[in-house]
Structure formats: structure tokens, C-alpha cells
Symmetry: C2
Subunit: 706 residues, 2 copies
Amino acid sequence: MPLKNFLAICLFSAAGWSAAGAPLPFDVMPAPAEAAATGPRFAAGRLVITTDKSNPRLAAALDRTRQRWGARVGSDRDAPPLTLAVAVQEFSPDVPGLGEDESYTLTVAPGQATLAAATELGALHGLETLLQLLRTGAGGPTLPAVEIRDHPRFPWRGLMIDVGRHWQPLEVIERNLDAMAVVKLNVLHLHLTEDQGFRIESLTHPELQQLGSDGHYFTQADIRTLIAYAALRGIRIVPEFDIPGHATSWVVSHPELASLAGPYGIERQWGVFNPVLDPTNEATYSLLADFLGEMAALFPDQFMHIGGDENNGVQWNANPKIQAFIKESGLPGNAGLHAMFNQRVNELLASHGKRLVGWDEIFNPLLPKDCVIDSWRGTEALGLTAKAGLDGILSNGFYIDLCYPASDHYLTEPVPADSPLTAAERAHILGGEATMWSEWVSPETIDSRIWPRTAAIAERLWSPREVRDVPEMYRRLAIVSDRLTEAGSLHDRNQDVMLKHLVGENLQIPGIESLRALIALLEPVKHYQRGSEQIWCNQLVPLVALADAVRPDSTPSREFAGRVEQVLFGGAAIDGGAAAALSQQMDAWTSAAREIIDPMATVYPAVREAIPPAKALIAASAVGTQAIDSLGRRRPLTPSQLASALATLDRAGLPNGSATELPVLKPLRLLVAGAAAQSSRAASDATAWRQLVISTAYPAGLPPAP
Amino acid sequence: MPLKNFLAICLFSAAGWSAAGAPLPFDVMPAPAEAAATGPRFAAGRLVITTDKSNPRLAAALDRTRQRWGARVGSDRDAPPLTLAVAVQEFSPDVPGLGEDESYTLTVAPGQATLAAATELGALHGLETLLQLLRTGAGGPTLPAVEIRDHPRFPWRGLMIDVGRHWQPLEVIERNLDAMAVVKLNVLHLHLTEDQGFRIESLTHPELQQLGSDGHYFTQADIRTLIAYAALRGIRIVPEFDIPGHATSWVVSHPELASLAGPYGIERQWGVFNPVLDPTNEATYSLLADFLGEMAALFPDQFMHIGGDENNGVQWNANPKIQAFIKESGLPGNAGLHAMFNQRVNELLASHGKRLVGWDEIFNPLLPKDCVIDSWRGTEALGLTAKAGLDGILSNGFYIDLCYPASDHYLTEPVPADSPLTAAERAHILGGEATMWSEWVSPETIDSRIWPRTAAIAERLWSPREVRDVPEMYRRLAIVSDRLTEAGSLHDRNQDVMLKHLVGENLQIPGIESLRALIALLEPVKHYQRGSEQIWCNQLVPLVALADAVRPDSTPSREFAGRVEQVLFGGAAIDGGAAAALSQQMDAWTSAAREIIDPMATVYPAVREAIPPAKALIAASAVGTQAIDSLGRRRPLTPSQLASALATLDRAGLPNGSATELPVLKPLRLLVAGAAAQSSRAASDATAWRQLVISTAYPAGLPPAP
């Protein structure tokens, strides 16, 4: 059914689903390419699956589906069963490659569902969709009657996990593979070597992991386990060995291959470091030939990522032999040397039938056209490489380690509608990857940094470009979060574990609800700010501070911002109920913050870090309450009151050592500005009024976007 | 330091630790063999470990210790560090065997700790002890100054997991191995074949798992992974292949080996079933020779468990050929045939250097003396086999699947002080095993059925016989529960997951706290009662009902019972404060129960099962309130009021279809009896008064013990 028919059918189905009408993507994330309601929702009973043929991958997926369905629907013996007929045309290879057919069609009607797919990979996606269509709650389990025709927008939909900086053991990877499958991601990119750790077992050069990893590395048996685990879920594994820079852990055991004399130790700090392999030393290529040959045999995927980023040139500049080599070879400086190195490595990979992937820096006119650019620089850089005829994937904008809200990632567009690329050039953009760099994540916290936000990125990479309604995305993100928990993710279940790091083992203590409330309002600072705020932190310092217990993308803060929007822009006059709710909310925050400052922080040493944000919340709430009061009494804030209020909010937003921040400062800023400018509200149209509030809130102009 | 010096030192240290005085086992579970405080508690900073030599097992344990220590102590840069010097005399074999030296000594003083052990297995235990000594909470992390000399009472301290009835995948086993290490258990007994599933890959006879497992089985690679995982934690893996009975899943692919003609399908129901291998068929031994030979090579442990339990004789009796064989061979009936079969199997195992283990039923005078009896019948049966010179382990009393409280298992004594066994005979009692039979556990609930109760069993098997103070056990059980969570157990973290099965995805709903309160008060029914209450349940019905969301050993119920004790037996007169607390508690229960009956159960279909227990709670609370009122007004309940109250409690305790029960009915019964008998209180001594209350509560005599 084409999309244009959708609305008419939706109108019919709305009454049966929700008073507000059925949103186009139903509750599914990523939203399907085409979906239409065909009837009212109906009660869902147990699931009976029939299939004409099967293979281990499909059988395992059907089995997971039965388990998860059963767990959610329970043993209600009255509801009519749903028979699901699964039909697959042919089977994909045991280990999937790039560009498999992942499409499927799914129709769901009372008593009967059918799932048809070209390959079982599509069927796996259709099963996840079906599980997401199922909703439980008041009234018991129900399903919508739907017809879905779905296929991915991009063939490369990845999650990169950096196991170099903070080691992440096998079970972390496995549970994240399970979660990836829920949101139809199909590439796990493992960043295996870093300055801070060499995380893969080499049999030809065991000294690499023995000296470079503190004993924390994947054995080759582990890798085979992971590849099989991923393949069973339709996920490719692309390994990355970062060379020639980010190579400290290589030269711990091979100082002779560094570009300056050693010795070297495993790097414990965060940043960009000098050690880089020496491309003028034939022994470098000899080691790489052994190691990469071994890895080419271990990893079946056609692509191998060699990093190539952030070589700062310090060692190459400081080594006269290297500079002489550049000169003698007529290379255009360090960049030329890097290009030559990449060419040698590419020949090596090509001899094993592998295609080279690297970060932006490897791009060079000499680079063979079958290499792939992984862009941390952005859509524009990616466009250039596409124009040059190279395939590319986008990581810029999907840096989930930077703790920006899901909405930011969600609106990152690999191929904008107005892209200057031709259709052929656009086809070079294979997709993108969420990148979980691991300076600030432990096995306890990594799930909460990946999920649920990465589901929004998965939607960007799977769903049509036009699917970009942010509130609708957040509505479904809350739902898919539970599906991710079902699949094994600990992003939700580890919240109390993190809280115990702050107050000790007993959570039944006075004040705990206040601490929970503050933590729910805080977010980790963005970008790389934590490193400058908590400079004592390094690889050896446990991640159990306030900034680790808080999570990106605070939901109560977003809800507060929504209520501020309602008060300021919800209509011609102020919404008294919304204003009162804001006041009550801020009173509650103030009480909670006071209880944290005293007694909680006096009793629990690890809570001390929460004192500055608690104080900031009290000050910001006072300013917000003043604004609400001003709006209620229709007495605009005076210019000096406005200036003082904005200055208070500025101070509340300064770094406070806890590496956390209060996202409610932004809506409070608008609230204050609205209170100051309220006399102009009636006389302005909606757009002008919004503009006025924003310019009043930010007299020096808007802060730069991330 | 001998134990007799302990008390004197304790007196000195008590002031520095807690007002109530330092309990002998500190916060460690299992309690150490000998432990003495040597000074006041002190602030604990980061941990610095030194060691003279290491091997992979020790290195991994030190690494886990650093991680867990760091996570709990955090990055407080002010507290003085603790240096831990670890010294090990020699290394144990890579895969541990029975009877390794697991002893250690640990001294902890401000700034300096030393851990000495004969082998690194003892060091592993000492590290767990150190992690348990560390407490966090108000005031920050602290340690006691202590001297501990510790060693296990029994060399075989096991947990059996039945993966046959409900399949438990690799990650379930792995996280339970992590938890076992926390409480110093050293044997994982995997029950791998059952009527309901053949859970191990055979390469010689792949049809066994292909037809007998629904695809849910451990590959041989999985097993190697588990053995290595366990060995790294000092844990042996003993496999069980249950023959000749419990063998339905064997004969699905080999009907010709059953004692009656097939065909057979995988059993889906729970119970004791007829299919049994035919011991008169040489082909049976030929298959077993292939399969057990293969398993003997796969599992390095010296012991192999062959089950042997619950052959009901139906098939043997019904097969004239088998009966003729018995007669011709002069065997003493079916028991003789079973003994002959065991002898053949034992020869097979012996040829691979293995010692045979089996359940009680294999015991027979002809059984070779190096076989081992695993007793599900009890201490007395075990005494008999010990007298006969056979080694034995106790499982009876440790059946954690039956959902009895930890205290019951805790007081189960493998070798009672008054045992008639000689010292040499006692030495045949190797230890015991907690048995997690899996009729009623899924991967989501199994952790909550194993932990924390199995920690009490671990203490019984490790600590001196004299350590048996139940309230003190429960105090530490609550503490060790968090250590188990740290190690990866989901017993606590899956509570909300289970709640969502009842009310759907959104837990932020009216009434949820009432539902939580009721669930915290309920326990699953005991023994095998659930099977008769919920007869429609079988292997294919998901375990997501009310009985799955509740947990054994309800803490608020135990606390309520303690307050009832205080009111009835706390002194010569009634404790008014405790009585008022009981009244308030029951009022709160009544309100919660009403909210569950309406509206929760009307809105959430899966909550309907909670209506009968909610009604029972309301009725029982009314009776309890009447008793409190009677005590407060010093007007004894009349005989007819007493009879009516007891009848109400009887009705509240009847099976109600939800397969849950209210443990508070027992203390309420005492409360009612106390209110009826109160006139005699002043005139009776404490013992007589207690006896009077009990006999009033149970006019027909006490119910039988479990």
C-alpha cells in the first residue's frame, strides 16, 4: 500500500487506537518505510508461528520471538491466539555481508499475521517490528491491525564500541548485540586497538596483547564467539586496528617500530598522543603483514578499519630520518607519508580480499576507490569523498559519548534533501555509525550511554528521511527503551547500582528520593568538558561519581521545557495551570536540593559533588519562580531584574567540578525573558513573539550549536 | 589467634565499630572459621595490591578485586590508600579438583592488609572476604581491623542448576558462577539431560540434541567456555546425565533403547515419567559408551553424575523381555537390574578415569566404594552410605526450588553434632549442594530463586557447625545480596522487569506502590504446590505470573513476625509502641489490598491473580487488628472470637489459584492466640507463656515441618 493512502485509513483506525489518532510509525522504532492501519486494535493472545522453511538464524529468531512474546503476553488462556505465518524466499549467507536484502512485509489482523521477506534477515527485522507493535498495559496486551512494507534507507547501520580506552568484556558486547538487533542495526564496529589498550589476541605476535592490554583483551576464541553471536542476529562485525597513530599500545611491545625511541608504557590519560608507527621502517610492514593477515583470517567481514586518525605529526617532525625519507621520496610532507603508509596497508588488505576503511584523514587523491571513508568530520566532508567516488559512512553527529540529547543525533542527516550530490554520488553514502568512545564509560555505565539514544540514530539510518518529528521520536524512544531492557540491556536496570556508589549499600535512607530527583534532572556535561573539569580522572580511576550516575537526555528536564513552551508560546494568554505546575515543580526541586546539601552531603561523602548543582538548582528555581510570579501578576521584570536573573542562570551553568549540568537552565532562560518582554506578547504574532523572547534570553546571540 | 581470645578483643573493638558490639563473623558470608577484631574501624581509600608471584587465575581475581573495590570506594583522593600484600605458596592446577587447599589468612589494619594462602584458590576466597569487610554508606567507606584465619568445613560446596526442564543459556550460568565465587561455592553441578530436554551437544550422536532439545543446548565450545570461566574462579563443573530414568529426551531420537516401544516426544509436563532406558539391550551400552566417552573427554572433572533417580518401574514391569532377563540373571527384581546397569556404567566411567556420582537410588551393596551418593533423601540416608564407606554429598534440605525461607536451609546440617558416625565415616560426607530444579524458573527469575538464599547454604557448607544464629544470618544475607548484584546476579535488578509483566510497560501508574507492597508480602507457595494449583502450566507456558514476580523469604513478613514476637514475648507487659506499629502496618496493608482489588485488577488483567491474596490480606489484617485491640484494651478474645479468627486465617491460607501465600498468617495466628490467652500472661513464666500461645494458635497441633 503506497503511503499516500495512509491518511485515509488512519482516520478510520484512529478511534480504535487512541483519542489522539494513530501516529504513522505506530510504536515501532525505527519507523517503518510504509505502514498503514487496516482496522482497530485488538486483544493479543499467545503466538503460534508457522514457517515453510527454516535455518539456524531464523529458528533462533523465532525462538527469541516466542520467548519475548510469551513473557509479555503471559499465560492468559482466554485471549484468541495469533497465528504468524513466516515465509522467506531464500537464505542469506551464514555470516552476513554488506547489502543483503533486509526488506520485509508484515500484515497483522485479528488472529492472523503474515511476515514475508526475501531473506531471513528481513524476517528478523519483521519479527522485531511485530514485537514492538505489541503493547501491554491497562486492558491487557493488544495489537494494531496494520500493513507494513519496510526496508532500510541505508545498508550500513552501525554501532562502534571502543574497547581500547575502557575495556568492555564479552558480556557487554553480547548484550549490546542483542539490543542492536531490536532497532535493526546491522554493523558492530569494534575499535580494538588504542593508545590505552591492545584488545585483541595475536597468535603471531602475542607480545602485542601481553604487554599492551593489562590482560584485558578478546581471545581469538572470544572473537569467533562474537562473530557467530552477531551473525545469528544478522549483524556484521567490522574490526578496527588504529594505525599509524593512536598506537601507543602497539609500541609498548615494539618500541623499535615507533617513530621516536622508546620505551613506552600503556597510556593512562585521555587525549591525542604522540606515539606513531614509523612508515619508513620495513619492520613495521612486516609486523603488520603478520598481524593483519592473521586478523583477515579471523574476521570474515569484507571490510577492515585501520583508523588513521589524529596523527599529530610530533614524532614524524622530530625524527630527522623520517623527514629525510619524505624529502628523498618526493612526498608532500607528513600527509604524503601517511598516504604512502595507507597505500602499503591497503595492498596488504587487498591481498587478503579486504576493503580498507579509515577515518577522514586517510582520504587522499591517491587512495584507491574501493577504500571507505568513515567520517568523524561531517556530512560535508563525506560529500567530498562521495564526489571523489569513494564509499563513505557518517559517524560525525552520532558521537554518543559526547552526551548530547537524542534529538541532536536524530536530526543529523547523512544525505540532506538539498544535498548537491548526484544520485550516483549519493549511493556512495552507505550509512552511518553511532560511536561509543570509551573515555567515560565502564561496563556498568556503557549501556546507559548507548541506550536508548542510539535507537534514534538507528531510526535516522533505517527510516525515510522525512521521519523527523522530534516529540514523536521521544514518545517511541520511551517505549523502545523497554524492548531494549527485555533484550538484555542494563541501561535502566543499573540505575540503583550507580546510586549505591554514591550513598553506599542501603538505598532505604532519608533523602534518597531527593537525590534521585536531582540525578534525574542532571546530565553529564557535553562534548569533552568532563576531561577539563575532572583532570585527575584517567583510565585507572573508577567511574562511580555523580557524573556517572546521571544520564544523558534528562526526561523531566525535557518535560519541564515543554511546559515552559506551553506557558510562553501556548496561545495568546498565559496558561495558568501550566504556570502553576512550573511553580510547584520548582518548589519541589528547591526542597530536594536543600535536603541534598544538608543532611545528605554531610553524611555521604560521595554526595558532596552534588552540592554545587543542588545550589545551582536552588538559585535557578528562585529565578524561575520570580518569572512565573511576574507573568502571573502581569508585571514585567525590570531590565535590571532581567539582567540579574540572566546572570544568576549564567552562574548556575558554570562548570562546578561535578561534570554535570542542568538542562533546565535553557527553558528557565526563556521563561525569564518572556516575563521581561510580556508587554509585547499581545501585540506580536507568534513568530515575532518567539523571536523576541529568544533574543531577550540571549542578548549576545544564541550559543553555538553542538 | 585462637577463637577463645576472640571475645576479649571484641570488647575492645566494639566501641570502634557499632554500639551493639561487633558480631563475630563481621559482615562476611560465609562467616570465617576464625575472626577477631584487632582495632576500631577505619576509613578505606583506594586499594594498592602487591604480589610476589601470579598466575592467570590470581591475576584475574586481583583484577576483579581492583574493579569492585574501585567501584565501591570511588575516587576519593583524600582517604589513605590500603596496601594489600598477597602471598601464595604454590599454584593449583588450571582446572581445580576435589580437595584443593582453599585456606587463607587475612589481616587488615589501617593502611596495610596481608593475605596469605597455600594456593591461589585460598587467595581468591580471601579477596572476596576483604571485599565483604569493606562497607560503604554514611561517613564513607570503612574497614574493620581484623585478623581472619579461614578454611572451609567441607570440600564440596555446590550449586546444581537444572538446564533440562527450563533451558538456561550461557549467560545465566556465567553470572551465577560469578555469584558463586562471592560466597565461596566451588562446584557447579549441571543437570544436563532430563525428560524435558537434552541440553548438551554430542558429536558422536548429534541426533540426541537435535531431536531432544528444541535447539536449546550447550555446544561443546560452550562447555569449554564454561569450564574455563569456572576454573578461573576456582569452581569445578560436574556434569550430570540422568540415566536410566528421566530419559524421555534420550529416547526421542533413540526409541529403540527405551524399555517400551515408542515413538516418544520431548516431555512438556512436570512430574515423574515412565520412559527409561533398557538395561537389557546391548545397544544401550553402546550408545552410552560413545556418549559418555565423549563427555569424559569434554569435562575434565574427576566426577561424573549419572542421576539414577525416580525410575518408577512402569516400563520395566510392562516389558516381558525385561522381566524374563531379570529372572534368568537371578537379579533381585528391578532394583537388581538398576544395580547391574549402574555397574556397567561405572565400568565405563572407570575406564575413562571417572568416579560415578548418583542420587540415593543408586546405592546398593554391590556399588563400588569409589562411587559417590548425592542424597536427595537426607542426612540419615547419607549417614548410611557413609557407614557403608561411600563418599556422599547432601542435597536434601537444600532444595531451593521449593521456595522455603533461607533459615530452613541454613539449619540443615550435613553432619549433626550428635551424629552416630565415627570420625572416619564423617570424612565421607564431602559437603552438599543447593539444587535449582527448573520447573518454575526462567532466565528472568532464576537468579531470584537462587540468590540470596543460597548464600545461607554456602555458609552452612563453609563455616563451622556452631555458626547458626538465624537473625545474624539474615543481617548478613541482606549485605551479601548487594555483593552478589555487583558480581552480576540479576536477582534484585529484575524486580521491575517482573512487575512489568503484570501491569505492562509503564510503572508510573496509580496503585503501583500498593502492588509492590503486596508483592513484597507474598511468597511463592512451597514444595510442589504450584504444580497442583496451576495445572495448566508446563514447559511452554511463560513464567510471568504473580507467583513469578513474588520472591521466596519475604523480608517485610519476617520483620512483621519479629514485631509480633516483641509484642507477645518481649517482656512481662505488652510493648505499646510495637503494638501500634503492627496496627499501622495492617492498616497500610488493607489500603494497599483494596487498591489492588479495585481499580488495579480491573484495569490490568494480569493483576487479577492478586485479588484472592489481596482479599486474604484484608481478612487477615482485620483479625490481626482485632487482636491488637483486644491486647490494648486487656479484654481477651472470647473462645468463639478466637475460633472465628483462626478460621479466618485458615481460609486466608487456602490455595487461591495464584500459587502465592502470605507468610504473615503464621505470626497473626500467634497474635490472635496471645490476645485470647492474655489473662494467663502475668502468671506464666516466659517458656510456659510461649507454649500456651503456640498451643492456643494450633489447637490441633503444629503443622508438619517442611
